[in-house]
Symmetry: C2
Subunit: 131 residues, 2 copies
DNA sequence: CTAAATGCAAAACCTTTGCCTCAAA
DNA sequence: TTTGAGGCAAAGGTTTTGCATTTAG
């Protein structure tokens, strides 16, 4: 509705990395220098609530955000901090099945793999699992 | 080595829930009222480093700890906040395989499922997946 | 015009750290 | 005694909030 909100939503949508709030703040400031940190926090909360963005927690103590959409998982390169996305149907199904086996309906999940690049794949920076 | 450290280690080992630092602090205080919060933080960090306890992050902004040992995953009941543990070999293998497919050696992972108890299982409070 | 959103600054939370004291070996 | 651990309180980093002001509809 407001211009700030559009700037922030657009910005997250255009980001193909996984910016934390401070990064979003800095990028938003370049577009509208009057935007405040508080607005970033309030807006990402609203956007998340609305299902427009998704919060990501890779365990470094601050929230990251990405555009919502095709749900994918994240593999964090422990040496570089790079986040690689992947999508795995078998995994999706398995999570669901496990929840059901335990008597639950799966309403959400959080998964991050932490890995170190194998020597044999050092040459390919963009190896992806089935996607 | 010190009495405080033993109290804390013992306490976490005896807890079958997943206490956060403040809870550990309160429980430890009952045993030794002179223990300080700083010591809890320093000690859990050391115990984690030593592989004696494991840090758990269920996304509520504070760290929880449990005794290390058989690695299991957690399913959080979104209605009650209860944490249910499960162990699933197929999942273990799949995570490893996905990392490898992406050219990584899996060095860690984090998984939580968030679920709502199915009506059909409302009677059983202790349903477990294969374990 | 009216309600909602923003900015600013203060506060709330969890966690870490400096420094001096105390305890273990 | 000597080194490491603990207590206390202050500081750090991230996120939230109160309140007055501005903006959208």
């Amino acid at each position: 509705m407001t211009s700030q909100r559009m700037v922030i939503a657009q910005l997250i949508h255009d980001s193909d990395d996984h910016p934390d709030v401070d990064t979003i703040y800095r990028r938003a400031s370049e577009i509208d220098s009057s935007i405040s940190l508080a607005t970033i926090y309030r807006t990402v909360a609203i956007l998340e609530e609305a299902g427009v963005v998704e919060k990501l927690d890779i365990g470094d103590g601050r929230a990251r955000y990405e555009a919502a959409g095709e749900h994918h998982e994240h593999l964090v390169d422990v040496d570089t901090g790079d986040i690689h996305e992947f999508h795995h149907l078998e995994l999706e199904a398995l999570k669901e099945r496990i929840a059901n086996e335990m008597g639950f309906e799966l309403v959400g999940h959080r998964l991050e793999l932490y890995g170190r690049r194998l020597a044999s794949s050092k040459t390919s920076k963009d190896t992806k699992a089935q996607d």
